[in-house]
């Protein structure tokens, strides 16, 4: 009867001494490498960066791009927002006489650029060019008179 320790030793020292065949090595490594590449391809497809990420790979470039967008926005606002009334004035100043200022075409342009307020500004500009006129004078006479 063997004691437990002897039995353990008996089993331990008789560990099977086997080696893999060359065919098995080749088959296993080929399939394993293929599985590895497949997983890596799948993972890289999952983590494919968006266009924005490709363009802006670094933090510095991201900040620069953000700053450029903000500056563009501000300059657009400056030129398109408050500048509408200035545009109306520029239109009025470019025209030579009050009759030209008060044409339907120029008033329409003023309305599109600055609304009713721009039309009022344009009218005031025309009246300034005409100067003081008697209250009895009609609109037609006013503009015809200025032309003459």
């Amino acid at each position: 009867m063997r004691p437990k320790e002897n039995m353990e030793e008996f089993v331990k020292i008789r560990k099977p001494d086997v080696t893999t065949s060359r065919e098995m090595d080749k088959r296993t490594m080929d399939d394993s490498l293929a599985a590895m590449e497949q997983t890596m391809r799948a993972k890289s497809a999952d983590h494919k960066p968006s266009t924005a990420r490709i363009i802006t790979p670094s933090r510095m470039i991201k900040l620069t791009a953000a700053a450029a967008v903000v500056i563009a926005g501000i300059s657009f606002y400056v030129h398109q927002g408050p500048g509408e009334q200035n545009d109306t004035i520029i239109v009025a100043e470019a025209l030579e006489s009050p009759s030209e200022i008060m044409t339907m075409k120029s008033l329409k342009i003023a309305y599109h650029r600055g609304g009713v307020e721009a039309i009022e500004n344009q009218c005031e500009k025309a009246l300034k060019i005409l100067g003081p006129q008697p209250a009895s004078i009609s609109t037609a006479e006013l503009f015809n008179g200025s032309q003459s």
Binding site: M1, R2, K4, M7, E8, F10, V11, K12, R14, K15, P16, D17, V18, T19, T20, S21, M24, D25, R27, T28, M29, D31, S32, L33, A35, M36, Q38, T39, M40, K43
Partner: protein, 191 residues
């Protein structure tokens, strides 16, 4: 003892470096891991299944599955322990699927009784190192734990965790397995 511990730590460090490289897509690391453990794992699979062809399939499948975990593999214990557990689990599944007539004990029984006499037979078993034949007479669950503990240096706690059973179950299977091995050898000698 100290030298043995240092050696174990060295091996663990090496394993961790290999796993680190493997997770970063190093084919050399995968090749190195395979070269390092293939013989041990094949030995384990043969001991458990008693069929070299099936055992080769098991080791192949384990490595292919392992390779598929590249980039996300997390090693909590030893690499050898992890791979041994994978082989043991895969071998158990294969063992369940195959026909009962192909399992070890019957084959070994025939092989043992072909000898001249019981004493010669027992001596022959010991001298030729045919432990495989003896282990094949044990129930699969006992054989699995004895081999993982004694040939693959896995602690009972590790085995219990890997197989999803309690440590008490592992220890009792181990004890019963050794007792049965002893009684098999005694019966061969006293016949």
């Amino acid at each position: 003892m100290a030298v043995s511990l240092i050696g174990q730590v060295d091996l663990m460090v090496e394993d961790n470096i290999l796993v680190w490289k493997f997770n970063r897509g190093s084919k050399d690391a995968l090749r190195r891991i395979y070269e390092k453990f293939k013989d041990d794992l094949l030995g384990l699979a043969i001991t458990l299944l008693r069929d070299r062809s099936l055992a080769e399939d098991v080791v192949h499948d384990v490595f292919v599955s392992f390779a598929g975990t590249v980039g996300s593999f997390h090693l909590s214990g030893t690499l050898k322990g992890y791979l041994s557990t994978c082989v043991a689990n895969s071998a158990r599944d294969r063992n369940r699927l195959r026909s009962p007539r192909l399992t070890g004990p019957d084959v070994v029984e025939t092989a043992c009784c072909d000898s001249d006499g019981p004493i010669e037979n027992a001596i022959g078993i010991e001298e030729s190192g045919e432990l495989q034949d003896l282990l094949a007479r044990l129930p699969y669950e006992q054989r699995e734990i004895i081999v993982l503990h004694l040939h693959h240096d896995m602690r009972f706690r590790e085995i219990a965790k890997a197989l999803g059973i309690s440590i008490n179950t592992v220890q009792s299977r181990y004890r019963y397995g050794l007792d049965k091995l002893r009684s098999i050898m005694n019966s061969v000698v006293t016949k």
